[in-house]
């Protein structure tokens, strides 16, 4: 009934190889986009924007970035928090050094700077892999956080060592600073997420993505069939860091507004995003969305149920939250190691056979 190719004839290669070849799926995608762009901005309020949607959008970009590296190219990285910090501080420096530069360009530039730094830290991946690479990227995490704490130039010599996003406008509307309306910050992040997802999806479907996956599946075999490991791995690091840098810049400038590197971008952030990628599904753009939504929404949902509905003490709920999130992660990894994306795939398969499953 749903998700059927029946009657959906393709007459060109182009039509056949589009992202959503099934008509129902494609329309669903357009509907989601339309709701996100045309409906949500009109009904959004401060709470929904700052507590749920902004973190979801921003973490989704970070998860897409990390998914490219870990899920598609198979290079385990624990440096995501550090790369997000790089994006945030690069964005801050561009914002303060060139006050007239458009915020859109600031964020892109922050992504470019992070991509370069990411490539530098990706160099060890040419020699080491697996857990050893994870340790090498862990060095990036600690080094970058240390650097931004240690060198006052990065935080413009402020007394507290914090960076604060100055007010910036776009088309006459504030998008950073306290005056920014919820819909503007939401739309700004949504544009970045949409572009990131489109780029990521098309990169991973093309020759670049195939090379990454070849490296992931067996690097020696990939090399023999003509994939240059140097270029494949470093391009994965660059693209991944680019997205992570963008998410860091948005995280700082639009979501939090004031950031302290040791608190906002510590090792837990790296793990959080790695969990998002693993729970969402390695090697899937949809998985990045699902993982980010899961990790952002679950704590809020548990809090609403525990504190607001049941009236439990806040500390009990906070402890339960740790237990439940932890248990769910373990259950997921045992029951569905391929993550939420695989559940979604299975659901689609089932829907195609419905109502006559076999």
């Amino acid at each position: 009934m749903f998700y059927r190719e029946a009657g959906d004839f393709k007459t060109s290669y182009r039509a056949d190889s589009q992202t959503f070849p099934i008509r129902f799926d494609r329309y669903r995608y357009y509907v989601v986009l339309a709701i996100a762009f045309l409906v949500v901005p009109f009904i959004i309020n401060d709470y929904w924007a700052n507590a749920i949607l902004l973190p979801f959008l921003i973490y989704a970009i970070a998860a897409i970035g990390l998914n490219i590296l870990v899920g598609y190219c198979g290079q385990l990285s624990l440096g995501t928090g550090g790369f997000m910090a790089m994006g945030a501080y690069a964005c801050y420096k561009f914002m303060t050094a060139f006050p007239d530069l458009s915020m859109f360009i600031n964020v892109i530039l922050a992504g470019v700077v992070t991509a370069i730094v990411g490539m530098l830290f990706g160099l060890p991946s040419l020699r080491i892999k697996g857990f050893y690479l994870a340790v090498a990227t862990l060095a990036a995490q600690f080094f970058l956080v240390w650097l931004f704490n240690r060198v006052p130039w990065f935080y413009n010599y402020s007394a507290s060592g914090q960076i604060n996003a100055p007010q910036r406008t776009m088309f006459g509307v504030e998008i950073t600073g306290p005056l920014a309306p919820a819909w503007a910050t939401y739309l700004f992040c949504l544009v970045f997420l949409t572009l990131s997802a489109l780029i990521a999806r098309n990169l991973t479907r093309g020759s670049v993505g195939r090379k990454w996956m070849a490296i992931r599946d067996m690097d020696i075999a990939a090399e023999i069939i003509g994939v240059n490991p140097l270029r494949a791995k470093l391009s994965a690091f660059a693209v991944s860091s680019f997205f992570v840098g963008i998410s860091g810049a948005l995280f700082f400038a639009l979501y939090l507004g004031a950031v302290e590197v040791g608190e906002a971008f510590n090792i837990q952030k790296s793990f959080l995003i790695l969990f998002m990628v693993i729970i969402g599904g390695l090697g899937s753009v949809f998985g990045s969305f699902a993982g980010a939504a899961f990790m952002v929404l679950l704590p809020v949902a548990l809090k609403v149920v525990g504190v607001d509905l049941l009236g439990w003490p806040t500390d009990t709920v906070a402890h339960f939250q740790l237990v439940i999130v932890g248990a769910l992660i373990i259950i997921f990894l045992i029951a569905e190691p391929h993550g939420l994306a695989q559940l979604w795939r299975l659901a689609k398969e089932k829907l195609r056979l419905w109502p006559f499953p076999y």
């Binding site: 507590a51 507290s160 306290p178 507004g257 504190v307 806040t314 500390d315």
Partner: protein
């Protein structure tokens, strides 16, 4: 079944729909995470005082108090979520007890027109009410703390610090870095050498830092620690046999939790405080009668009388008095956040009033004005007695060196005003 569901839905709506007439004092507390040891005490004290007002006096001026609590775990992201979820309930004042969250909220307060009180924490230059109309940090701030500590050291050394070495062991965050600028100015004035030794969050591992202390042999150590960092620092200091009476903590490093684990070795450790300590105050009789014995104590009810519990009581007392002032000023019982702000700006804490409240000599006297949101900067030094297991005040309330602190506040707040195009509030 339908009926059940309807009742359930109705119950949910009743539970979720706040009674708007109450005075809402949200408590952004942290009872979990590496900073919970202090967070629990503060949250309990804050809640117990407000419960006492509700039970004994029927609220403030006859208006009941409601305190929605929200767990932040000292994390800025959760702090934002908590702020956004409570501000719509008619919140009158925020006290986040976290410098990171305070920094986050300072710009938002101006837009949402809700006041915030950051006693002894937050952005020090927010003392300048001309630039920060919605932020208050009476009765003392980080720079006052640093200056009072140096004054105490001067006292100990007979007024001369030339050539002495002082090390600042601090939490490597906005909180721990705040005093550096003041201490640098003070070191120039008094001629002591300053070494800063940062400890990264959360601070469970400080071997290398204390090795550095051991190598550099400072005459005094100033400690700006919070959460698990402080007891570790006290223990490490004891391990290298650093004389405890030459180690002085800021008020966030001076609670029972910080010294109990080091046992007898912590004897003589000092910390400054901007309020009195111990449970020897008449208010505890009322607390016992109306709150503890009635089974309405917050949390586990095992923190009564501890230093940071006292700070929670004190913080609640300050905002309750401000609310009372606001009620008188605007001649209405159900004040809103704007009126609350006016009340805070007109707040005057006198010795008579504190005695009336059952808290004689609990804190310094001060008066808030439009240009001075931070009080007069008085703090006292407390010392830990490991045998009796209690903190005692060993000095009077000392005023900080205003010649040093005030120009720094002017400079920093002027820079903030210029950066963010903030017009003068007082003129």
């Amino acid at each position: 079944m339908t009926k059940k569901l309807t009742t359930l839905a109705l119950g949910v709506m009743l539970a979720a729909g706040p009674a708007m007439a109450d005075l809402v004092f949200p408590s952004l507390s942290y009872r979990t995470g590496p900073y919970a040891a202090g967070g629990i005490q503060f949250a309990d004290g804050y809640a117990d005082y407000l419960t006492l007002l509700n039970e004994r006096d029927g609220g403030i001026g006859g208006e009941k108090i409601r305190m929605p609590e929200c767990e932040t775990a000292y994390n800025t992201e959760k702090g934002v979520e908590c702020y956004e979820s409570t501000k719509g309930e008619g919140a009158l004042v925020y006290q986040p007890l976290s410098t990171g969250i305070a920094y986050q909220l300072i710009p938002k307060m101006n837009v949402d027109k809700i006041p915030m009180l950051t006693s002894g924490l937050g952005r020090t230059s927010s003392k300048n009410g001309d630039v920060f109309p919605y932020v208050f940090n009476f009765p003392a701030n980080y720079w006052d703390g640093a200056s009072v500590i140096v004054k105490h050291i001067l006292d100990q050394e007979g007024g001369d610090l030339n050539g002495k070495k002082i090390a600042l062991v601090h939490h490597n965050s906005a909180y721990g870095k705040e005093p550096i600028r003041t201490l640098e100015a003070l070191s120039e004035k008094h001629g002591f050498d300053l070494t800063t030794i940062p400890v990264d969050h959360p601070g469970q591992e400080q071997k290398s830092q204390w090795l550095q202390v051991r190598r550099e042999r400072p005459d005094y150590v100033i400690l700006y620690g919070w959460g698990v960092m402080t007891p570790v620092a006290v223990q490490e200091a004891a391990n290298i046999r650093f004389p405890m009476d030459k180690m002085i903590g800021i008020w966030w490093s001076g609670s029972e939790n910080d010294v109990l684990s080091a046992g007898a070795a912590a004897d003589g450790y000092k910390a400054v405080a901007f309020h009195n300590v111990g449970s020897d105050f008449p208010i505890y009789d009322d607390l016992k009668e109306y709150v503890y014995d009635a089974g309405k104590a917050a949390g586990n009810g095992d923190q009564h009388g501890t230093t940071i519990y006292s700070r929670g009581l004190y913080a609640a007392m300050l905002v309750a008095e401000a609310a009372r002032t606001a009620q008188e000023m605007h001649d209405t019982k159900a004040i809103n956040a704007q009126q609350m702000r006016d009340g805070m700006e007109a707040l005057e804490i006198t010795e008579e009033r504190m005695t009336e409240l059952g808290m004689p000599k609990f804190g310094p006297e001060f008066k808030v004005t439009c240009r001075n949101h931070g009080g007069e900067g008085y703090a006292a030094v407390t010392q830990w007695d490991a045998k009796a297991k209690q903190w005692t005040l060993i000095t009077d309330f000392i005023q900080s060196d205003q010649d040093i602190v005030q120009p720094l506040i002017e400079e920093d707040s002027a820079a903030y005003a210029a950066e963010n195009n903030i017009p003068s509030h007082c003129d």
